[in-house]
């Protein structure tokens, strides 16, 4: 039942593998989209591209939701939810800060919005590790 690399339950291993895959897909699509950014498409094409970009994020949310629904250990559910909140919080802070700076002060700062998913998952993973470490 431990949430560490050595002793993961099947559910935890599957969920981590799926979330990792979603993160890889997100990084891949982010790279592809940054390359085709300079091309000129019709408005509907951009909507389709935007939908492709959010698909792995929705996928990761579904995987996390399914994990939370299936995890029998209420304390693990509790700390996973807390970690997710840390991840979402940091993404919102970075997006709000950079959004304001890019719009009003320095438009040349690279937007980190393409890495929202990665920032969210890495922050959540670090927060989870810290909570587990604090409760050894």
């Amino acid at each position: 039942m431990r949430l560490c690399n050595r002793n993961l339950t099947g559910l935890q291993r599957r969920s981590l593998a799926l979330v990792g895959s979603m993160m890889a897909i997100c990084a891949g699509t982010g790279g592809i989209f940054s390359r085709i950014e300079r091309s000129h498409f019709s408005a509907p094409t951009y909507y389709v591209i935007a939908l492709f970009a959010v698909t792995p994020i929705i996928g990761a949310m579904v995987v996390i939701a399914r994990y939370l629904a299936a995890e029998k250990d209420e304390y693990l559910r509790h700390i996973v939810v807390q970690s997710i909140l840390w991840g979402l919080g940091l993404v919102m802070v970075i997006d709000t800060f950079l959004g304001y700076v890019i719009e009003h002060a320095s438009p040349h700062i690279p937007a980190l919005t393409a890495f929202n998913m990665e920032i969210f998952l890495i922050t959540a993973a670090i927060a989870l590790r810290i909570q587990l470490w604090r409760n050894q």
Partner: protein, 72 residues
Amino acid sequence: MEEPVKNRLRVLRAERNWSQADLAQKLEVSRQSVNAIETGKYDPSLPLAFRLARLFETTIETIFFDESAPRT
């Protein structure tokens, strides 16, 4: 900030010579859960509190108590 509920889990466990891992196995939760409850970092849900009470063959009030509550 709300005061955590105190508990006698460590004492009850020691009386039976159970490790945290033993208790976790009996409750079908992680050892971290047992540690978090014991140290007052996490208050268990009612179903888990009932499971603990059944396991120790006692009542929830014997295991968990609120020191700030007025005594009757």
